[in-house]
């Protein structure tokens, strides 16, 4: 009997081990769970940070795609915005992701999951909303086989004061501050004068580039650039400018044809509205036919060469015939280069080379000129050496580091800059070649190792085409923007 009870008691106590084990397991599990929960919070904090940073840089890369594709030199040029993009016209670069549950679409305003461009309505509240025209272009893969960063769309549009909330022409009467918003203009597009934004019409318009990036985890960033085109500003002071060393014994030379009644002439009156090959634009003030920078060059070109036999072939600038600029040359402050300074020119050369559509090592001929060059597509050509053209007409900006020779029906519409010291036109009876725009000649090869100009000579044969006609339209067509400068940058809350 006792024995039996005892056995039963032992059996009853046998479950304690299980209880103890469960208790300890629970304890350990609670500690473990607490740790997991805490590290989970850390992980999600880190993930948030990571995705917000990724979205920021994705949006930035969208901005850069937009800015890059504004340039005519870009193989994926948007071709939207030069010379101007009217307000209300919007260009979107879209970059939808195949795995998006709702395809992203900047104009799908009804569906927030499509990441619509609600920011546009914020910027244009009083006018141009909705946009009068919308163009959508797919994004270009920067690396074949690799998806682009996760930006959803990039918008490019013209801006007014209200869109960027900046009082560009400064009409703010001061406090109280509530008046300020009503002072903002929402009619006129904003331009860029090379340094500042302005409401005054200039050839270059400021644009807003806005990019939205969204990651699959829904973190978003909206960034905006205001950009303005930057072009080479080459000051033109005459139809033909010859920069000589300014020494009496060694001055600029212009050798005109020797035969009577020759046709070669140089006109400084702007041909903008005249016979110039198709371009029209508002005329600019007339310039002298030939420009020089110092008195010795003036005496050598004007007194020693042009007074006979046909001074009437050189007119313009309100200067007595033959027209050679007698007054001291004043260098305009907003230009990229000082054409009177050999050092400034040598600094300018790499800038042109970087901006050039074609860089050729000389000697070269017309066969080497880019085939895509045309009146509607003027190009910048940099020849590092000599160039000779035979019955060829080019368009744009031509910089020849060596000497330049041409013959037959050769001409150039735009700007020709020759820095080797000699331009030679060889005899070609019946030639009708014509230079519309401006020509500049200097010698950077000899004379003080770049610190001073060497002797520069323009040799014109008897049959040498029609000559040089100043044309401000071709001059400005030759100076295309080579970059879009970031004028301002900001982060905007979205949505």
């Amino acid at each position: 009997m006792r024995e039996k009870r005892k056995r039963r008691t032992r059996k009853e106590q046998a479950g304690v081990a299980l209880l103890l084990a469960i208790f300890i397991l629970l304890l350990v599990a609670v500690v473990g769970l607490a740790m997991m929960a805490a590290s989970g919070t850390e992980t999600s904090l880190t993930a948030n940070y990571r995705s917000s940073t990724s979205a920021y840089y994705a949006a930035l890369s969208g901005l850069e795609e937009g800015r890059g594709r504004l340039l005519p030199r870009n193989p994926n040029y948007l071709n939207c915005c030069l010379p101007t993009l009217p307000l209300g016209q919007v260009i979107y670069i879209t970059n939808p992701l195949a795995s998006d549950p709702v395809p992203s679409d900047p104009t799908n305003y009804g569906n927030a999951a499509a990441y619509p461009d609600t920011e546009y309505a914020q910027e244009f509240r009083r006018a141009f909303n909705p946009p009068s025209s919308i163009v959508k272009t797919p994004s270009v893969q920067s690396l074949p086989g690799f998806a682009n960063p996760l930006y959803k769309w990039v918008r490019i549009n013209a801006i007014d004061e209200e869109a960027i909330l900046v009082d560009v022409n400064n009409t703010d009467p001061g406090p109280p501050d509530s008046f300020w918003f009503t002072q903002l203009n929402f009619v006129q597009p904003i331009y860029f004068d090379g340094k500042n934004l302005t409401r005054v019409v200039t050839p270059y318009q400021a644009l807003a580039v806005t990019a939205l990036a969204a990651l699959p985890d829904k973190s978003t960033k909206l960034l905006q650039y205001v950009v303005g085109p930057v072009a080479l500003q080459i000051p033109i002071s005459a139809a033909l400018t010859i920069a000589g060393p300014g020494l009496v014994a060694d001055a600029a030379v212009f050798n005109q044809p020797s035969m009577p009644n020759y046709t070669f002439s140089i006109y400084g009156d702007d041909q903008a509205t005249g016979d110039n090959g198709g371009l029209t634009c508002p005329a600019k003030p007339s310039l002298p036919a030939i420009g020089v920078f110092n008195h010795a060059d003036y005496v050598n070109v004007h007194d020693n060469k042009l007074l006979t036999p046909q001074p009437g072939n050189y007119t313009g600038g309100g200067v007595a015939i033959p027209s050679v600029s007698p007054s001291p040359y004043v260098h305009p402050s907003n230009s990229t280069v000082d054409m009177t300074d050999p050092i400034s020119l040598s600094i300018f050369l790499p800038i042109v080379r970087n901006a050039a559509d074609a860089v050729l090592n000389g000697p070269r001929t017309e066969a080497d000129m880019p085939s895509a060059m045309s009146a509607t597509n003027p190009m910048t050509v940099y020849v590092n050496g000599d160039l000779s053209l035979n019955s060829f007409t080019g368009y744009g900006l031509l910089v020849v580091r060596g000497n330049f020779t041409y013959t037959g029906d050769s001409g150039w519409k735009g700007i020709v800059i020759v820095l080797g010291g000699t331009i030679t036109v060889t005899n070609a009876p019946g030639s009708n070649g014509e230079f519309d725009g401006a020509v500049y000649l200097a010698n950077l090869t000899t004379g003080g190792g770049g610190a001073a100009f060497g002797e520069a000579t323009y040799n014109v044969a008897n049959h040498a085409g029609k000559g040089i006609y100043y044309d401000s339209c071709w001059v400005s067509a030759a100076l295309k923007p080579f970059t879009y400068k970031v004028i301002s940058f900001r982060e905007i809350p979205y949505p």
């Binding site: 740790m35 904090l45 022409n169 703010d172 500042n196 900001r490």
Partner: protein, 269 residues
């Protein structure tokens, strides 16, 4: 009747019990020691992580603010006009001493007072571009003792106003236990434990880099061609943050050092 079986089969002797108890004590002693250790470790590590998180949050905000500095730049407004002072950023960074802002920029490292300095910076930017008030803000970061303060004040419309005096009223604690420039005694302790983090005494929070070719140089460097706040292109931010308690297992102070660079994207005026 059969003889009874020995009791032995039904229980434990005292010796057995004592042995079992001793083993249990030793094992559970080890287990609890391990648990305490891991709790301590966990506590210390989670504090370190928190500190890291706080430092990163602070650093990130500073870098973003520096990226945005100088909006809207003076070039957004037509030349030849004098826009109201509070409508645009005169410079990406405002400066002291009083009376010099905005017309005579100081030289970083020499004539600037507190800002821009190693432990103090005032960023000028419009942080709420969609707000129609159109007023630029001053964002100030200041390390005072071991607390980094942040303050946002609307830019004064009075050109003669002193940015330092105006922003000082808006400062609130932002990151605690910042050890870039602690009191001397504390610095000595830290330096002894982390010699690599404090190579030569206090560590500047802000280092300014000015425009130069071919690359930006430290504004305080004599070779810098420009040394005023209007030409700062990037700021390197270094934050050293200490966890509130030392490591419970080793007794070592816990420090986190983070470094970031903010680059100004807005152009010069």
């Amino acid at each position: 009747m059969k003889p009874r079986k020995p009791i032995r089969a039904g229980g434990f002797s005292l010796v057995e019990l004592m042995t079992a108890l001793a083993i249990l004590l030793i094992v559970s002693g080890f287990a609890f020691e391990l648990l305490t250790l891991s709790m301590k470790k966990y506590h210390s590590d989670s504090q370190l992580l928190n500190t890291f998180q706080e430092a990163r949050f602070g650093l990130d905000q500073m870098v973003r603010d520096i990226n945005d500095s100088g909006f809207p730049p003076r070039v957004s407004i037509q030349p030849g006009t004098t826009p109201p002072f509070q409508r645009y950023a005169v410079s990406p960074f405002a400066w002291g001493p009083p009376g010099t802002y905005p017309n005579s920029p100081c030289a970083i490292g020499t004539t600037c007072s507190l800002t821009p300095g190693s432990y103090d910076m005032i960023i000028e930017t419009d942080i709420d571009p969609q707000n129609h008030s159109g007023t630029v803000e001053w964002i100030r970061y200041q390390l005072n003792g071991t607390t980094l303060y942040r303050g946002v004040a609307p830019k004064s419309s009075n050109p003669g106003a002193d940015p330092e005096a105006i922003t000082s009223g808006f400062l609130v604690p932002y990151v605690q236990n910042v050890m870039n420039n602690p009191p001397a005694a504390q610095l000595a302790t830290l330096q002894a434990q982390y010699p690599a983090m404090f190579p030569s005494g206090p560590v500047p929070v802000f280092q300014y880099f000015c425009e130069s070719t071919p690359q930006p140089v430290d504004c305080a460097d004599p070779i810098a061609s420009t040394d005023d706040p209007t030409h700062v292109v990037s700021v390197v931010v270094t934050l050293i943050v200490q966890a509130p308690t030392a490591d419970m297992t080793t007794g070592r102070l816990q420090l986190v050092q983070l470094k970031g660079e903010g680059r100004r994207l807005n152009p010069d005026n």
